[in-house]
Symmetry: C2
Subunit: 157 residues, 2 copies
């Protein structure tokens, strides 16, 4: 992480392409980017060694599994020094899939995924609110996710 990475256009194109679809074969991706499959292989191995690439993950449609509710919760702390302790307690709640320490309105900001509103209510009132050091919370419930996409790391022109 302390080393400066020197990534060229080919590296970025590979990343851009495989962030969207990691199933493409090295040979096919090589064809598309005008190099051999062997070169794709070497580059990906390098990116893994450098820690840029962290593996591949199955993309799952959570709604079709019955996880219909996404909520965001802004958290106000009693004292900002309680961050570590509160973060640790929050991590014990499996429905919380993400926690950020933030500037701005809130001290902390979490994302929650649940099967229904009943379960969300349970997480908010029985779990989150009981954590020592949390002053109060504000909840945003997502009625619709308009889009979600990857950052653009390679822009052709």
């Amino acid at each position: 992480m302390s080393h400066k990475l020197n990534l060229d256009h080919l590296d970025l194109q590979i990343i851009q392409s495989m962030m969207e679809n990691a199933e493409i074969s090295y040979a096919d991706l090589g064809k598309r980017l005008s190099v051999s499959g062997g070169t794709i292989h070497v580059r990906i191995k390098k990116l893994q060694e450098f820690g840029v690439v962290k593996g591949t993950r199955l993309a799952v449609d959570m709604r079709s599994l019955g996880y219909d509710v996404i909520a965001f919760v802004g958290i106000y702390l009693e004292k900002s020094s309680l961050y570590e302790s509160v973060a640790n307690d929050i991590k014990q709640i499996p429905e919380v899939i993400r926690l950020n320490y933030t500037t701005g309105n809130y001290s902390m900001f979490v994302e929650i995924v649940c099967k229904d509103i009943i379960q969300l209510k349970h997480v908010l009132h029985e779990q989150l609110q009981n954590i020592k050091g949390i002053d109060r919370t504000e909840t945003l419930i997502s009625l619709e996710e308009s889009f979600r996409r990857n950052p653009i790391v390679y822009r052709p022109n």
Copy 2:
């Protein structure tokens, strides 16, 4: 349509495992779950047909690519009927990777990924604020991401 799929424990275990790491072979995953590799293959094909599985994606450490800044922006609309038009304008901003229509404090909520604060400032002031129909915005900048993980779809016991 998102109901009523009949998925059993095996399906959920496959999903749970491959959400974390999609590189495992069918044979190895089968061993772990006490079935043959062929069965894993059939199940995954079924999950793809049902639309539960949407492919695989490369997991990338954005920070090592120089994308150091994550920000969340809450948006107040002049009228909530402007949602569609504003959503469309927001989608044109490549740094915005996610947009949700929400209840609660804000009408809309976006996530932004940038290389630095300069770029974030540009996105906020030259792009977002110029969109017709946006009343005002509140920005949360992430100072640290404490954790990020997948939802739990299978809990052993």
